[in-house]
């Protein structure tokens, strides 16, 4: 567990109240940060969870060059020029990442790709992209987290481990807090957890359902059928690992609760079934509205991945995986999503913003990334920055920079930076690239629709 560095004797201390932690999609905005302005670090993060503390304490100012081109230190201008040149020269340039930077930067990134007729995708595609696709198919009944705090008396987590991935999800939003119609907090709620294994989240549950690995869809589908009063096959326990009695009990609870919520984790989106697993959750929640009030929510990972979805959607009409090759946005997951365009060897240049595909993408995609010119922006060194032709060291959003982020429930929140950074922000770097790209493609060179 990370510990705050012992505060040195410093008089130059600043307290930032109601600061926002952007480490995960919970985007808790009740942090009280103690900042040592001399040491350029946060020494205390009151109310932060263990992940949040690590986030605040570990993001100090590192001694890194702002720009490296082919591993050699360069000026910011040189870096921006080279980045713009790479992008303009490419026939299938891609941008990826964007979930750990504010919306203001995301908006610029989309503009750059619109200008050069490139391809833009966010980490959504390997997170809850499948849930986004499911949404496009069936819609969603959902709510802001405050509504869940105020009203939800049945809380179901499916395929997630918030205790480790989103520690304050339980305490700040959905399990323990008291709300308007939940005066006694957890006592007024029934918590159900569905997972393939016991995790540190399990103890919070009143009911734990262990589903056989890869059988979530079957189980959800059986629940849908039962909710609708339809028959299901006799061998349901054999198929899914959950007995008929347990299912019937859950169905009764779901139909009779006052306000129910289904939270889904990446245990659903990353496994066999992907978008259909999410779709099953959405449909189940919608079905239940025939009987009571029911909502569903993906538990999103990164601090502003939800913002990325929103920005890309309002600018292009599609939430992720958007291609501008023809001078207008097109969408097709599997065709224009980053993992695919890399693994198929299609992209011929890449700009990676605040993300590390070189460490978490499939091997084949990483191999292609190693072959093409890559521009990267990150606060830390990563496998991706290492293989980049042009790398920018940038300031940390929420710690050094302001801006807007969206919590996992689409609630926008403004950031309160704690201390200044000598590094440029993502937005500044992207602005610089945008200006150069627009200049290079101005007038008769403008890329228009084809």
């Amino acid at each position: 567990m990370p510990e705050a560095a012992k505060p040195k004797e410093s008089k130059n201390i600043r307290i930032v109240k109601d600061a926002t932690c952007t480490f995960c999609g919970c985007v808790c905005d009740d942090m009280e940060l103690t900042v040592d302005l001399d040491a350029h670090r946060i020494t205390k993060a009151k109310r932060a969870c263990v992940l949040g503390r690590a986030w605040f304490y570990e993001h100090t100012l590192e001694d890194r060059p702002v720009v490296l081109i082919d591993g050699k230190e360069a000026t910011l201008d040189e870096g921006l020029d080279e980045a713009a040149r790479i992008l303009v020269d490419a026939k299938f340039p891609i941008t990826y990442g964007l979930s750990d930077c504010p919306c203001e930067a995301q908006r610029v990134a989309v503009d750059i790709m619109d200008t050069i007729n490139g391809n833009i995708d966010t980490t959504t595609s390997v997170c809850h992209g499948p849930s986004g696709m499911a949404f496009q198919g069936v819609g969603e009944s959902t709510a802001t987290l405050g509504e869940i705090k105020n009203r939800a008396d049945l809380v179901i987590y499916w395929g997630g481990n918030p205790a480790e991935s989103h520690p304050r999800h339980f305490t700040r939003y959905a399990v323990t807090p008291k709300g308007m119609f939940i005066p006694n907090g957890k006592k007024d709620r029934t918590v159900v957890l569905v997972d393939v294994r016991k995790t540190p989240s399990t103890p919070v549950a009143d009911i734990f359902m262990r589903v056989k690995p890869g059988k979530d869809f079957e189980l959800l589908w059986a629940l849908r059928a039962l909710v609708k009063g339809k028959k299901i096959s006799e061998n349901i326990e054999e198929q899914t690992g959950v007995s008929r009695e347990v299912l019937d009990d859950l169905v009764e609870r779901m139909k009779n609760c006052q306000y129910g919520v289904l939270f889904m984790g990446m245990g659903l989106t990353m496994t066999r079934g992907r978008h259909f697993n999410s779709g099953a959750i959405y449909s189940l929640a919608s079905d239940l509205n025939e009987f009571t009030h029911f909502v569903a929510k993906p538990v999103r990972g990164h601090g502003n991945v939800t913002g990325a979805d929103n920005v890309v959607s309002w600018q292009t009409g599609y939430p992720f995986g958007v291609n501008f090759n023809r001078g207008y946005p097109r969408f097709n997951p599997g065709e224009f999503t980053t993992s695919d365009v890399l693994a198929r060897g299609e992209a011929d240049a890449a700009m990676i913003v605040a993300s590390d595909p070189a460490s978490n993408f499939p091997k084949k995609a990483i191999e292609h990334l190693e072959k093409i010119p890559v521009i990267s922006m990150d606060v830390k060194e990563t496998h991706t920055t290492r293989l980049s032709r042009v790398r920018f060291a940038v300031a940390t959003y929420g710690i050094n920079t302001g801006g807007t982020v969206y919590r996992m429930d689409d609630v926008p929140i403004s950031l309160r930076p704690a201390f200044d950074s000598p590094f440029p922000t993502d937005q500044e770097v992207l602005e610089g690239i945008r200006q150069r790209v627009k200049k290079m493609l101005s007038g008769s060179k403008a890329r228009v629709a084809a």
């Binding site: 589908w221 259909f276 969408f331 011929d348 084809a450």
Partner: protein
């Protein structure tokens, strides 16, 4: 009339979007006219001639040679004529076609025949995901036509299809016939899991055993007469090695579903 021949002389570096390579576009053009047709090479406008050598005037009969795995949308919106591809083909082959015939002698990748309403696409090799499927968000997939894959195909065959016939000579991936509205899918090899999830109407036939979702219910073992008509037709279209008399005369176990939807769909599993 002799066929128009296109020979790939330069492999595209990035995906080539070539919806112009379709009888709908080239019929009546001169060699030069065809070579000047626009294609998109990534984000750059290019010409057919940059990649293909064209022989012959534009006819509704097109032969294309080369590995076209990176070439998308061949045969787009064709309503008549014939396209023969002597090799592999890229995404969206036959997109929006309403008539005519496409023959792919190699493999196809994802999205064979999206938004198809008529005609026939035959792939002698394997196909990728989304054969005859709806694009994301669409509630209706193909509304007619026939797609014959002689090899295997992957996930979501016939997603939301409304009408038409899809035949897979080999194996199928997961979610075959997902959200199917109606139509017929015949799989001669094995199917992945979750066949027919959310299907409203329609028929899935498989010659092998398969896992059935809990929301489907067994109804009977019988000899579905209508199936003979399909199997006979498929025998006549090159599946004679995959379809034997036992399949034509045999019994099938019928499962009806999906109970979460209208429950008017069926999965027929061959049982000897």
């Amino acid at each position: 009339m002799s066929a128009t021949l296109l020979h790939l002389h330069t492999q595209p570096q990035v995906p080539l979007e070539a919806e112009t390579l379709s009888p709908a576009t080239i019929a009546g053009l001169s060699e030069l006219g065809i070579e000047h047709l626009q294609v998109m090479h990534g984000n750059v406008k290019a010409k057919v001639g940059d990649f293909f050598k064209v022989t012959g005037k534009g006819t509704p009969d097109i032969h294309i040679e080369g590995d076209l795995a990176k070439v998308k949308m061949i045969g787009a919106c064709m309503s008549e004529g014939r396209v023969i591809i002597e090799g592999n083909v890229g995404m969206h082959v036959g997109i929006g076609m309403s008539g005519g015939e496409i023959l792919v002698k190699g493999d196809a990748t994802d999205w064979v025949g999206p938004e198809m309403s008529g005609g026939r696409i035959t792939v002698l090799g394997d196909a990728g995901h989304m054969v005859g499927s709806a694009f994301r968000g669409q509630s209706t997939g193909i509304t007619g036509g026939e797609i014959f894959i002689h090899g295997s195909a992957k996930n979501e065959i016939g997603n939301s299809m409304r009408r038409g016939l899809i035949a897979i000579g080999g194996d199928a991936g997961d979610f075959t016939a997902v959200s199917m509205r109606a139509g017929t899918i015949i799989v001669m090899g094995k199917m992945g899991v979750r066949t027919g999830a959310g299907m409203v109407r329609g028929t899935v036939v498989c010659f092998e055993e398969s896992q059935i979702l809990p929301s489907f219910e067994y109804s009977c073992r019988y000899q579905p007469l209508f199936l003979r008509l399909y199997l006979i037709r498929l025998q006549e279209h090159g599946f004679e090695e995959k379809i034997n008399d036992k399949h034509i005369n045999g019994n099938y176990e019928r499962y009806s579903g999906d109970a979460v939807e209208l429950n008017r769909g069926e999965i027929l599993l061959f049982s000897g």
